[in-house]
């Protein structure tokens, strides 16, 4: 191996390991060395253990020597600190889960483990995935590897920054309103949110259960597709998972080279005031690239797009207020001592939760409370129907939808943290995909004059993951934005 080991992507690492050009222990050690070197500047990881990772890697090497030919045997992957990996801490970026050690594997982890992966590190997240910058993490803000004065996005900012900085070939993340795609765009990596119901959330710390979805952040669409293939599919532990067969789309994704015969929709609602002109320019250039690859570009309408953020900031906090009721200091996590049970709950939650979580839990409690339920929660559920309907109509006219992932490139640390509404508007192009329960992909599509990455959003109908992955792969076959690395 001539290049640095940490340069290897997920599939490249699998190939190198299969050819015995490198051992899992060497690869894992290279990533841990790099993590130790860069973490003081990035803070993208909440936990890693050299001993634990090397033990897993050595076990993978021994299995290979004994004839084990599992496709991802010994391939390291980083995990968002929201997903339970048995024996590792799982904090969800919150003080209330400080010291919690996962007693079981999330289904996605069990599947990656069965495929042979090594869990090399845990990545930083906004507290309970509530945020768009990682600034709400109790473990400090992650920095963007392209400019450490800027945020990496969020909530999966740690996963995106770690993959961009090559601390791991790929990472698992979660997306409730854009938390995979937005940080992927900010960090110049590929992020993929599968359809609601495609990937199990069993063992994924719940935020808003009608919206949460687990997916990969990787260096390329191919790598994201490879991770997706392992984690997707029906799980008896998550009744929202679909029995629909996942199929093996990876060979087709790897072979995708053009977009002939595809109709791609361009919604005018995604090119509006508030979209940074430089990001717009990069998005439009990416759309032209898709046209040059053979796609027919058609105009589509998503008339209720502008209501997505308001709808989301009723539904998601409402669900969060219910999901986070379990953090009461009784069964796990932090407890504030008190002689009185009610006071123990109130003090535990007051001291254990950060400001953004408190804000959303109170908001969610309010919109569900007697007298306000119909005006807020029920109304938002109806608006959700309208937003879903927009996509159904649009997909009658096109195979997938293109647009920007974010209205701006990465902003500066602290720039938006005092104004929640401004922060929430950063999800304007991504939340509707969650509300509609469909799938979305963010692929790097260039850099602003400040040297900051931007992402092209490819949105597909429910369960058409293979289609949008092929579109992203064809785009990456023709471009090399995803091969650029930050100088860190």
């Amino acid at each position: 191996m001539s290049a640095d080991l940490f340069d290897l992507g997920f599939l490249e690492a699998a190939d190198a390991l299969a050819k015995k050009a490198v051992s899992s222990e060497e690869l894992t050690s290279a990533l841990l060395d790099r993590s130790e070197k860069l973490e003081p500047a990035l803070n993208s990881l909440t936990w890693f253990s050299r001993e634990a990772a090397r033990a897993e890697a050595r076990a993978a090497d021994a299995a290979r020597a004994a004839g084990d030919k599992r496709p991802f045997l010994g391939v390291p992957i980083a995990i968002k600190d929201l997903l339970n990996v048995k024996g590792q801490p799982c904090t969800a970026g919150s003080n209330i889960l400080k010291g919690y050690v996962a007693p079981y594997d999330a289904t996605v982890i069990a599947r990656l483990r069965a495929a042979g992966c090594v869990f090399v590190s845990r990545t930083n997240t906004d507290e309970f995935a509530m945020g768009g910058s990682t600034e709400t993490s109790a473990y400090g803000t992650t920095r963007n590897p392209w400019d450490v004065s800027r945020v990496p996005g969020g909530s999966s900012g740690g996963s995106a920054a770690a993959v961009a900085a090559r601390l791991a070939p790929a990472a698992l993340a979660s997306d409730t309103g854009g938390s995979i795609r937005q940080p992927a765009a900010f960090c110049g990596v590929t992020g993929f949110k599968p359809t609601y119901g495609r990937v199990s959330r069993y063992g994924c710390t719940a935020f808003a259960s009608s919206l949460d979805q687990v997916g990969p952040i990787a260096r390329s669409v191919e790598d994201a597709a490879a991770v997706y293939q392992v984690i997707a599919g029906l799980d008896p532990h998550d009744s929202t998972t679909s029995p629909r067969p996942v199929g093996d789309g990876l060979p087709e994704v790897r072979a995708a080279k053009d977009l002939k015969g595809l109709k791609l929709g361009l919604p005018k609602e995604y090119f509006v005031e508030g979209l940074d002109p430089e990001v717009e320019k990069l998005t439009r250039a990416a759309v032209e690239q898709c046209r040059a690859l053979g796609a027919e570009i058609v105009d589509v309408d998503l008339p209720h797009s502008q209501y997505g953020i308001a709808c989301y900031y009723i539904l998601a906090p409402a669900e969060a207020s219910a999901n986070l009721a379990r953090y009461d200091g009784v069964r796990y996590g932090f407890r504030a001592e008190s002689e009185d049970l009610l006071e123990m709950y109130e003090k535990t939650r007051a001291q254990g939760f950060g400001a953004e979580v408190k804000r959303r839990v109170i908001l969610g409690t309010y919109v569900l409370s007697s007298g306000f339920h119909d005006a807020y929660y029920l109304r938002a559920q109806k608006v959700r129907t309208l937003i879903r309907g927009d996509f159904e109509k649009a997909f009658a006219r096109c195979d997938a939808i293109l647009g920007p992932v974010t209205p701006t490139a990465a902003f500066r640390v602290g720039e938006k943290s005092a104004d929640p509404v401004q922060m929430y508007l950063g999800d304007i192009f991504t939340v509707n995909v969650n509300l509609a329960g469909i799938c979305g992909l963010s692929v790097p599509c260039g850099f602003t004059p400040n040297g900051l990455p931007a992402g092209l959003h490819v949105v597909g109908p429910a369960f058409e993951e293979a289609r949008i992955l092929k579109i992203g792969a064809a785009y990456q076959h023709a471009t090399d934005w995803h091969r650029k690395h930050p100088k860190i």
């Binding site: 953020i309 559920q381 929640p420």
Partner: protein, 101 residues
Amino acid sequence: MAMKFSENADRMDVRYVAGLARMALSDKEETQLQGQLDDILAFVGELKKLDVSGVAPTDDASGTLNAWREDEPATGLAREAALANAPLARHGQFVVPKVIE
């Protein structure tokens, strides 16, 4: 990016709602949250402008109604594993402050 705020937005009693959510708030937090939640409520109140009469609510994005499986006994978490993260456990049980006088 519509973000014109309604002028007659609701104003919540933050301390009361925090109580419903079992969260103590300091006076400083209450003041800060009141301002922020007023802004957020005004923002989400934009939905009131939409005509949603005759629209059915969506409560599940997948459109599935029920998922059935055989009701078969299976091994769950062992008691020791379930108690391992407890702030306080004794005699195989979670310990909480006394609730009965």
